[in-house]
C-alpha cells in the first residue's frame, strides 16, 4: 500500500468523516443548483467567463505590466516571487522589517500552497487565522480539507471540543451559534492588536491596480484594515482587465461556491491609507507569485489557470465525497487538485491523484469557467503511462485486458464466464465478497450482473428490430 492508498484507507475507515463531508457538500450542491436554476443565462455567462480568463492568460505579460504600473500609482509596493519559498521569504522579510510580533491572516489558498503558515511560525511570528474554518484547523493543528470550507471534515461536536480546550470563556457551546459567537469574542482583540494583516486576492484588477477579496464573515477587512501593514499574496493568474470583468467573474464564482448571488463582503483594496483616511494600513505590499503557474502554461495546462477556486468540482466529485480532502495529500484536493498537484509537486509523487477519478464529467459540467478537468486528468494518466509510473499490477492488468480486447471471441468467452461465476458469490442479490474484488467489496456491495453481457444484449436488440 502506498502513501495515497494508506490515506484513502484511513479516510474510508473514519466513522465521522463521511457524515461531515455529506453535511456540507450536500448543502453546497443543492444551493448551487438553485442559484444556477434561477440564472437561465448561466451557460452564456460561463462561456464568457472562460473567454475572459483565456484572454487574460493569453495576454498575461500585458496585463501584469498594466497591473503593476497602476498598483504602484496607488502607493502599493510590488514584489515578484518565482517560487513559493521566495514568496514566503518576502512576506517574512516585510513582517520582520515591520517588527511584527503578531500577524492576522485571512484565508488564502495560495498562502497554504506556498507554506506561508509554516514560514511565519518558523520565523517566530504569532499567526492568527481569522477565517472561522481556518481558525478551527489552526487549533486542531491540521491543514484545510476543502478550498472553500477548510474545516469541512470536522463535525460540530469536534469543533465544540476544540473551542472548549482553547477558547477563553467559551460558554456552553451547545449550538453552532454559540461556537461562532465564542470565536467572535476570542478573535476580536487579535484583529485590533495585529501588526501585519495578510490576505490573498480573488482578483487583481489590471486597470486600477486594486485587488479584490471576497468573504462572508467580514474577516478579510478586519484583517487588512487595523494593522499598520497589509500584505497581499496573489498568483499571477488572478488578473482581470478591469472591475467590469470582475463583476462577471463574481457572479460565476459566488453562485458556484456557495449558491449565494454575492458574498456578504466583496472588497477592492487599492494601496495604503490615503490622506485624510481614518483607518487603513500605512504600508500595502503585493507579492505576485509564479510558483509553477508559468510551468503549467508550458505543460499545456493553460486552461487550468482559469480556475476561480470555487470548489464546485470537489462538491460534485464522487471520489472527493467518499475520501475527503486530506486523502489527496496536497493543498488542492478533488478534481482541480488532481490536475494542479502533479504539476506543482511532480507526477512521480502524485501520480495516484489523476487516477482517483471516475471520469464521469460532473466537475467539468459544474465548473464556472468550463475547465475540461476530465481531459486534463486523462492527460496526466497518459503521461504517467508513457513515463512508466503505472504500478506493475495495473500495467499487467491493462496488458491482459488489451490481449482480450483485441481478440473479441476470447473477450466474449471470458466475460460470459465471469457473468456465470459472479452470482456464485452473491448473498441476497448482492456480492459482498469475491476473490480479486476486495478493493471494491470492502466498502460497498456489488449488484449481481443482470441479463447477458452487453454484446449479447445488443445482438438480441438488433435482431428484434
Amino acid at each position: 500500500m502506498n502513501a495515497f492508498q494508506g490515506r484513502v484507507t484511513a479516510a474510508l475507515a473514519d466513522p465521522t468523516l463521511k457524515t461531515a463531508i455529506d453535511r456540507t457538500t450536500n448543502t453546497a450542491r443543492s444551493k448551487r443548483a438553485a442559484a444556477i436554476a434561477a440564472w437561465p443565462e448561466f451557460a452564456q455567462a460561463r462561456e464568457l467567463g472562460r473567454d475572459m480568463k483565456d484572454h487574460v492568460i493569453a495576454n498575461m505579460e500585458y496585463y501584469l505590466t498594466m497591473f503593476e504600473a497602476n498598483a504602484v500609482k496607488t502607493g502599493a509596493k510590488i514584489h515578484w516571487a518565482r517560487t513559493g519559498q521566495e514568496a514566503c521569504e518576502i512576506v517574512v522579510g516585510i513582517c520582520k522589517a515591520a517588527k511584527a510580533k503578531s500577524v492576522t491572516r485571512s484565508k488564502s489558498m495560495l498562502g497554504e500552497e506556498i507554506g506561508l503558515p509554516h514560514a511565519l511560525e518558523a520565523a517566530g511570528i504569532e499567526r492568527v487565522e481569522t477565517d472561522l474554518a481556518e481558525h478551527i484547523i489552526q487549533l486542531a493543528g491540521e491543514t484545510p480539507s476543502h478550498i472553500i470550507w477548510p474545516a469541512l471534515h470536522k463535525t460540530r461536536e469536534q469543533v465544540g471540543e476544540l473551542f472548549r480546550a482553547h477558547h477563553t470563556d467559551p460558554g456552553e457551546l451547545a449550538t453552532v451559534e454559540e461556537m461562532v459567537s465564542s470565536a467572535r469574542r476570542n478573535l476580536r482583540e487579535k484583529f485590533m492588536a495585529a501588526d501585519v494583516g495578510i490576505s490573498g486576492a480573488n482578483f487583481l484588477i489590471a486597470d486600477t491596480g486594486a485587488i479584490c477579496t471576497v468573504t462572508n464573515e467580514g474577516n478579510a477587512e478586519l484583517t487588512t484594515t487595523p494593522p499598520r501593514v497589509h500584505i497581499v499574496t496573489a498568483g499571477i493568474e488572478k488578473l482581470v482587465p478591469s472591475m467590469v470583468e470582475a463583476m462577471t467573474m463574481l457572479r460565476l464564482l459566488v453562485r458556484s461556491a456557495t449558491g449565494a448571488e454575492l458574498t456578504q463582503y466583496t472588497t477592492f483594496h487599492a494601496g495604503p491609507k490615503q490622506p485624510g483616511d481614518v483607518d487603513g494600513p500605512e504600508e500595502f505590499h503585493i507579492v505576485l507569485v509564479d510558483a509553477g503557474r508559468t510551468t503549467m502554461l508550458a505543460e499545456g495546462l493553460a486552461e487550468m489557470l482559469r480556475c476561480l477556486r470555487c470548489g464546485a468540482c470537489m462538491n460534485h466529485c464522487v471520489v472527493y465525497r467518499q475520501i475527503g480532502g486530506h486523502a489527496y495529500g496536497a493543498t488542492y484536493p478533488g478534481p482541480m487538485g488532481s490536475v494542479i498537484t502533479p504539476s506543482l509537486d511532480g507526477l512521480e509523487t502524485s501520480q495516484d491523484l489523476p487516477r482517483a477519478c471516475t471520469l464521469n464529467g460532473q466537475c467539468h459540467e459544474v465548473c464556472p469557467v468550463a475547465i475540461p478537468l476530465p481531459t486534463l486528468i486523462r492527460g496526466w494518466r497518459t503521461k504517467a503511462w508513457v513515463q512508466g509510473y503505472e504500478p506493475l499490477h495495473t500495467a499487467w492488468a491493462l496488458r491482459i485486458w488489451e490481449f482480450f480486447a483485441l481478440r473479441p471471441v476470447l473477450y466474449q468467452l471470458a466475460s460470459n464466464l465471469a457473468l456465470r461465476i459472479m452470482p456464485l458469490f452473491a448473498k441476497g442479490g448482492w456480492i459482498s465478497k469475491m476473490p480479486l474484488a476486495g478493493g471494491w467489496t470492502r466498502y460497498r456491495d456489488m449488484p449481481i450482473p443482470q441479463g447477458g453481457s452487453f454484446l449479447a444484449q445488443y445482438k438480441k436488440r438488433q435482431a428484434a428490430k
Binding site: 448543502t27 443565462e41 452564456q44 455567462a45 464568457l48 475572459m52 484572454h55 498575461m60 505579460e61 500585458y62 514584489h79 515578484w80 518565482r82 521566495e86 477565517d131 472561522l132 474554518a133 478551527i136 477548510p150 474545516a151 469541512l152 453552532v176 461562532v180 478573535l187 484583529f191 485590533m192 486600477t208 486594486a210 462572508n216 464573515e217 467580514g218 474577516n219 477587512e221 478586519l222 487595523p226 499571477i236 482587465p241 478591469s242 467590469v244 463583476m247 463574481l250 457572479r251 456557495t258 449565494a260 448571488e261 454575492l262 458574498t263 456578504q264 463582503y265 466583496t266 472588497t267 483594496h269 487599492a270 495604503p272 491609507k273 490615503q274 483616511d277 481614518v278 502554461l297 493553460a302
Partner: protein, 218 residues
Amino acid sequence: MTDAKQAIFAAIRKTLPAPAPAPTIAAELSQLRARINATRPDRVSGPADEVFLERVQSPGVAATAERINSFDEFPAAVMRYAVRHNLGLDIALQPHPDLATLNWSGCQTHDHIGTDETLAVGLALGGIAETGSLIFHSSQISPTLFAFLPLHHIVAIPYKNIWPWMEDYVASFAGKSPPRNVNFVTGASGTTDIEGALVRGAHGPGWLHIVVVGSPGL
C-alpha cells in the same frame, strides 16, 4: 526589472508570443464586453430603488429595510430600531457631515468605532439593485471599520444612488482613482464553516438594517 520579475516574464515568453499591440488587445476585450449584458441574471425589471428594497430583504441577503421620506426622519428610524432590538442609544455615528447635521437629541453619539461597538449608524455611498449590496468608499467621512465592527449596523442610502446593475456602479467611477477600499456589503456577516449551517454575526455585524431615503414620487 527585478530578477524574479524578469524570470517570470521570460518563462511566460517561452510559451506565449510577445504581447500583441495594445489596440489589438483592447479590440478583443471590447468584443468580450459586448457579451456581458446578455449574461446578466434578469433581475432588475422595475425601478432600481424598488428592486433594491426587495433584494435586501430577500432570504439570500436577509437584511431588514424600510423607506423614509426625507433624511430628517433618519434619527427617528434609528431610535425605532434600537427600541425594537432593546439597544441603548449610545451610537457610533459615521463621521459624515450629512449625518452630523441631523437632530440626534435623545441619543448619545460618538464619531469613532470601538472594537465591541453595539450599534453603528452610517450613510452608504450607494447601492446595487441586482444584488442588494451597499457600497462604501473609504475616506475621512467613511471609515471602513464602521461596516465591520458593530453588532448592529444601520445604514441610510439615498434612493437616487442606487444603480441597477453592478456594471452601472463600475461605469460611474471608471477612470477615477480608486479609494483605498471599495466595500460591497450584501447582508449581515455570516458563516457556513461549521457543517454548512448558516450563522449570522461571524466577525462583522450580525444585523444590518437599511433605510432608503426618499423616492422618485416625492
